[in-house]
């Protein structure tokens, strides 16, 4: 396997280029896009595996193993979920989450974020509410819960009356938050 051709980047691509190519590809091959067609879904899963291998190889090569081991392979199951969400591989994050028995506040929070980015808003709302109720003091959970509750209202107020300039976005309201900052992307 040539990791460069799998990701469709040149050999002198920057780390940012690699990440961008990776994010686009994991979106293209997300299983949701192949629901209803088992053969295509299996092929997509296989492809995702290759993409992940290629990405791992290239990032490892560029970071000489140091940051890589911290953010990806090491740590608890929950840390691996976070790393998967952060790099945009929602399918992997969801598989890891479903294998965890202990449904802590953090588990609900991550499940909610994954569902939000997958476009499953009702499930996202339920899990983010659960995380917030289990641990209302956590600013990350609170912020996620607020954004979920305020987005619809912001849309309803927008463009009514004099306010005709586009000045609300989900992204702007959550830019401070590490995982949330990229929630505007669809898988």
């Amino acid at each position: 396997m040539n990791p460069y051709s799998v990701l469709g980047v040149s050999e002198n691509a920057s780390e940012e280029d690699i990440k961008r190519a990776y994010r686009t590809l994991v979106k293209k091959f997300h299983p949701d896009r192949y629901a209803g067609d088992p053969n295509a879904a299996a092929a997509a899963t296989e492809k995702l595996k290759q993409i992940n291998q290629a990405y791992d190889m290239l990032i490892k090569m560029r970071q000489t193993g140091q940051d890589y081991s911290q953010t990806y392979t090491a740590g608890s199951d929950i840390a691996r979920v976070r790393a998967a969400v952060a790099r945009g591989d929602l399918a992997a994050a969801e598989m890891l989450l479903d294998a965890i028995r202990d449904q802590s506040a953090e588990w609900h929070y991550l499940k909610g974020i994954v569902l939000l980015r997958r476009g499953w808003y009702e499930g996202a709302r339920q899990h983010l509410e659960a995380a917030y109720q289990m641990n209302p003091g956590n600013p990350e959970y609170r912020q996620a819960w607020e954004v979920v509750n305020q987005t619809g209202g912001a849309y309803r107020n927008f463009f009514s009356g004099q306010n005709r300039a586009l000045n609300y976005t989900l992204c702007a309201s959550c830019a401070a938050c590490s995982l949330f900052s990229c929630c505007c992307r669809y898988f």
């Binding site: 896009r33 192949y34 295509a40 476009g119 987005t151 619809g152 849309y155 309803r156 463009f159």
Partner: protein, 269 residues
């Protein structure tokens, strides 16, 4: 949707509608007036608005409206929406026949050749539509009460239909189509509650809450409808719209919102 459009804007919308009808007639030799959908007219309006060619509405001689002065907009951007219209109409017909409306099969001899042509022109889109159909019937069979499942499947299909409009902007177009599809599915489910309760047809909210009178349905529908619209509007805001901006703004920021308010209040728009 039309409630919020100004008269001249609605005229433009109708001109796209008539242009689409013309494309269906021309490309698929369909006497299409009964098949043209407002959704696909919207797709045409959006497709053309992303392009930079200027177009001049021309008078439309329409057998169905001989006394009305109508305009039509005919551009190449109509090709793809016309194919989508054919694909959706074909599956809708198959669905209706399976649901027991056998008389709908009368359209099959006309639709089948058109379906074949549209599928060969846009095989990926044809696949997206058939996959969605299969996914939805699976969800229906297991009587899912999870609104994310059917609305998500419908959203993915519309996302895949929209993403083809502009290769550079496929992510935003996908997001727009996905969220609009989610909204469409849920608004229909909310609108059909009482009808489905009487007929016993599948309705995701009835499967979750048991009866159409449950106040929880309104809450769940409201959150999901407005959240989906917010995301759709966001994705729309990132698109390079070159014409018809006022019409599109009104649809995304006012028309869809108003339609949602009406359905949630149980009124007819």
């Amino acid at each position: 949707m039309k409630c919020e459009l100004k008269v001249h804007e609605f005229e433009t919308y109708k001109a796209y509608y008539c242009g689409l009808c013309k494309a269906l007639k021309h490309e698929y030799t369909l006497i299409a007036s009964s098949l043209v959908s407002y959704d696909c007219a919207f797709l045409y309006l959006l497709a053309d608005s992303l392009g930079s060619e200027t177009n001049i509405p021309e008078p439309c001689a329409c057998l169905l409206h001989p006394l009305e002065k109508r305009l039509q907009i005919v551009t190449d951007a109509a090709q793809y929406p016309a194919a989508v219209n054919v694909l959706l109409a074909y599956y809708k017909m198959k669905d209706d026949v399976e649901d027991g409306q056998k008389f709908k099969a009368a359209a099959a001899p006309f639709l089948r050749p058109a379906f074949k042509k549209a599928s060969s022109l846009y095989p990926e889109t044809a696949k997206a539509v058939s996959m969605m159909q299969r996914a939805l019937s699976g969800i229906q069979e297991k009587k899912s009460g999870n609104v994310d499942e059917p609305s998500g499947a419908f959203g993915v299909m519309l996302g895949k239909i929209f993403e083809r409009l502009d290769a550079d902007k496929w992510e935003d177009l996908y997001g727009l189509g996905y969220n609009l599809g989610r909204w469409l599915y849920i608004i229909d489910a909310a609108d059909d509650l009482i009808k489905d309760e009487k007929s016993g047809n599948y309705n995701v909210f009835l499967n979750k809450y048991g009866e159409s009178g449950s106040p929880e349905i309104g809450k769940e529908a409201e959150f999901n409808l407005y959240f989906s619209l917010a995301r759709a509007a966001e994705a729309y805001g990132r698109l390079p719209v070159r014409k018809n901006k006022e019409i599109l703004d009104n649809i995304f920021y006012l028309g869809l919102k108003q339609k949602t308010q009406f359905v949630l209040k149980g009124e007819i728009c």
